[in-house]
């Protein structure tokens, strides 16, 4: 199916992570111009090499550096992007940060960073980007949530509740901006086979698979395909405020 992303500008936060880079790659392969936000220069180089190795034309990639724990940094990066590229057609809030341990063992900065990156940063990014989408009379936003927003909360109190907040925020903003032709949705991944999930997978042994209807872990590609589906007006033009579970049926 034709997704119609040719010449569309797609901003992706958390682009250098395994899910973020897959999302960037798939958008590029569909003809989009991708603006990845990254924080770490070493990760940026690795990310660009990975994109190239996987067939991406780097002329379609316009990376910008921003620390998502700093409001001014986010605003300044998005202002620069809008000055240089004029518009953002699609925003994917993919940055995530989880510290998995009992709530009472978390340090204050670990609480702050998890709230800032998983909950506050998407709000700040959306506020800046929505302005441009209003001016351009349309746009699409996809927020990456987590299965822990609604289930499996032990050890992920702050991460899970921040993602739950993000899901609710997604629905409310979808209501507010719908009449301006802007759609806002979430993708909620279950257990995805990435570096970030290896501890969880190791601890769960085969239990997680047994709880999952499809008896397997997801891949970054599974998440990415769902994001592209929701971000395209040709495939999801009448879908907004939706949370799409990409979890192999772990909730069933």
């Amino acid at each position: 199916m034709y997704l119609n992303f040719n010449h569309k500008y797609v901003l992706v936060t958390g682009a250098t992570g395994e899910i973020g880079r897959q999302i960037c790659l798939d958008f590029i392969l569909e003809g989009a111009l991708v603006i990845p936000l990254y924080r770490n220069d070493c990760k940026k180089e690795k990310f660009l090499n990975w994109l190239k190795e996987n067939g991406a034309n780097l002329d379609s990639v316009f990376p910008y550096k921003a620390d998502l724990t700093k409001r001014d940094d986010i605003k300044s990066a998005i202002n620069r992007i809008l000055k240089e590229h004029n518009k953002i057609d699609v925003l994917v809030n993919c940055a995530g940060y989880a510290v998995e341990m009992p709530f009472l063992m978390l340090e204050d900065n670990q609480i702050d960073d998890q709230i800032n990156i998983n909950y506050l940063a998407p709000m700040i990014v959306m506020k800046e980007v929505l302005r441009s989408m209003f001016i351009n009379k349309g746009g699409n936003i996809v927020n990456i949530s987590s299965a822990t927003a609604t289930k499996f909360g032990r050890g992920v109190s702050v991460y899970g509740s921040a993602k739950a907040g993000l899901e609710r925020f997604t629905k409310i903003i979808a209501q507010e901006v719908g009449k301006k032709g802007i759609r806002v949705n979430s993708v909620s991944p279950g257990v995805i086979d990435t570096d970030m999930s290896q501890d969880l997978i190791a601890r769960g042994k085969n239990n997680i698979k047994e709880f999952t209807a499809l008896r397997k872990y997801g891949t970054p590609i599974d998440v990415s395909k769902a994001v592209l589906f929701l971000a395209s007006d040709d495939t999801a033009g009448f879908i907004t405020g939706h949370v799409l579970n990409v979890d192999g049926g772990i909730f069933l």
């Binding site: 302005r131 209003f134 001016i135 507010e176 901006v177 009449k179 301006k180």
Partner: protein, 134 residues
């Protein structure tokens, strides 16, 4: 009303047309934004974004009634969201373009905002443009 306000009015009417689908030709200076034109809050955001982009100024809904507060900063303008006697005096002086017959002591800020009309919006744009020049 001088020429500059008229020019601003022409732009504002076009912006309202584009954002809300209300024909520019049918919009009058005295039309209230929220009651007569029935502009909702999201359309208002859209209109303000368009105005900011067109004129390169920063403007908020609160700017529309902020000036009356500034004019009477020695005395309370409102208490618990209700306009005081001093507030009424300030509104009569600073916002002559609105329907003053509806302004009274004890009215709420929300009721005041409903009296704000297209002329008020044009005035605040002119003030912001003049400030930017200085």
């Amino acid at each position: 009303m001088n020429m500059e306000i008229n020019e601003i009015f022409k732009d504002v009417a076009e912006i309202i047309d584009e954002s809300c689908g209300i024909e520019a030709d049918s919009i009058k200076m005295e039309d209230t934004l929220f009651d007569k034109l029935e502009i909702d809050s999201i359309d208002m955001v859209d209109i303000l974004f368009e105005i900011e982009t067109k004129y390169d100024i920063s403007i908020k809904v609160s700017d529309l009634e902020q000036r009356t507060k500034e004019a009477e900063n020695e005395m309370p303008y409102e208490i618990d969201g209700k306009i005081t006697e001093n507030g009424v005096k300030s509104i009569l002086k600073e916002m002559p373009e609105i329907d003053l017959s509806k302004v009274h002591e004890g009215m709420t800020i929300e009721e005041l905002i409903k009296l704000i009309n297209v002329h008020s919006l044009c005035k605040i744009i002119k003030l912001k443009l003049d400030e930017a020049k200085e």
